[in-house]
Subunit: 291 residues, 2 copies
């Protein structure tokens, strides 16, 4: 059997790559520079599986992933992976007691370390990059006097050392990643802790009217189906036209879900299953290097 080919949002050293390393047990890994490029590669068969951020992401927007899955490609979510976000301050190995004049990272990562930076490096100039992985590459090229904010993998991949660990302002910060396939095949993953089975559905309304969402949710509520996330997103047909994205905390079955579907269709709504999948939780190993 051929080795599985896995595409992910790169470059090397991103949180997405960390998710991939944690989940998969071998295969060919290909980093893509954007979420659409990664999903396109899945669509045209360049890779078998794609991994992209879905919620609370650092590099990239949830909305971009959702909208692309809904509008541009025809793929299923076959797993999700939750990864704790731990940000570190990364410097060149030659850096010792130099002043830090510039700190590079993605704007979201800088925002997550806002209080730390304000307290410890009020004078440093903040430079925004397209990803935390890119920030680490830049600092590796520049040498001393600059730092990047990123994860321990970005340090390893770029030969940087960690000057300060866990500099993010809030603990309990996680990113959810979606694992997607066009032609669902078995996923060969490491032994992981499966927290629960989930199903993501998309509901479109015939038109906007008062109480529409309340009516949609009734179909789930009276069946005692728990929803762990709901979001309204604009259709691309103009402002005011919305669809709903709903995460249900149970696997798809042939009794409850067809019942919900029939009830919603009677209201003029449409229901599409974007995926039914296990939810994996990833523990992040401690950083291996320290200044």
């Amino acid at each position: 059997m051929a080795e599985q080919r896995i595409g992910y949002l790169g470059p090397k050293g991103t949180f997405t790559k960390m998710a991939v390393d944690g989940l998969f047990d071998g295969g060919t890994y290909i980093g893509y520079e954007s979420i659409p490029a990664c999903l396109d590669a899945v669509e045209n068969g360049e890779v078998d599986t794609g991994v992209v951020p879905l919620e609370n992401a650092i590099e990239g927007s949830v909305h971009l992933t959702i909208d692309y899955l809904v509008h541009q490609v025809n793929q299923s979510i076959i797993a999700e992976l939750t990864v704790p976000i731990k940000q570190h301050l990364l410097v060149h190995p030659d850096h010792h007691n130099h002043d830090l004049k510039k700190i590079y990272s993605h704007s979201h990562a800088i925002a997550q370390c806002h209080q730390y930076l304000h307290k410890n490096y009020p004078q440093a100039e903040l430079e925004y990059t397209a990803s935390t992985g890119r920030a680490a590459e830049i600092v590796a090229d520049m040498g001393t006097g600059a730092a990047a904010i990123g994860n321990h993998l970005a340090a390893e991949e770029n030969g940087l050392k960690i000057l300060a660990e866990n500099i993010h302002d809030y603990d309990n910060n996680h990113t959810r990643f979606a694992v997607v396939q066009k032609n669902p095949m078995t996923l060969k993953v490491k032994d992981q802790f499966v927290t629960k089975q989930k199903t993501t559905v998309m509901v479109t309304l015939p038109k906007d009217y008062v109480g529409a969402l309340h009516q949609v949710l009734a179909a789930f509520a009276w069946r005692k189906m728990n929803l762990s996330k709901i979001e309204s997103r604009p259709m691309k047909t103009g402002l005011g036209n919305y669809f709903f994205l709903i995460d249900v905390d149970q696997p798809y079955d042939q009794i409850l879900f067809p019942g919900v579907q029939a009830e919603l269709e009677a209201l003029g709504c449409q229901l599409k299953i974007l995926g039914t999948y296990p939810s994996y939780q990833l523990d992040i190993p401690s950083p291996i290097r320290r200044a």
Copy 2:
């Protein structure tokens, strides 16, 4: 009376700056490099008013804005502004029939022009930048052979010319911007089309249980209050703890809203008004230069 000081998500030539130019009738404008930096400037009184993207944004994430407003600062949304997103291909004025080797932009802007780029410039290397404004700056420095994707203001501000207009794949793409203040004062704006009055509320649940959101929405639905957006967002206290962000299509009043509040508090929920405000719609003028 002192001139109003307005902070916005910069650099010059971003869609946020275009929103600011469209809405305000004079004042001192200060561009900030990130959403948190802009909201911090409002918080510490460096500016009177801040303008940041709220939904379907190009430069920056909705989530970052929402989370920062909810967790980090104490400000009110006093207006929203909806701006159509039109992307153009921008080149150096010396560019004539050169090959385009590299195309620079924010990953969301590149995603929005995906089909156009794939069809017209399949060979060009795509380079991701922190904002569309930054992409235009880079191309202005580089000269011929490169292009940026951005709006007409980015062309003007950086002395670039427009090689191709409206290269975005979907029409009807809009960004919503929030206008925020710490100490609400009168907003001096140009004559704008106010589409409606809206109120944004945040609802937190005592704990997650089946049908919770359905119960919350009932308080709005039976009062025939129309909701134009709803989103569940994780609290920063760990996965699984959510709050709801709800846009109601009417101004705050002393009858319906206190009724909703009392009903939700009886369920153990908390309701916080993030703002009640006019919704402005901005028309974008046509580009003034063309290659």
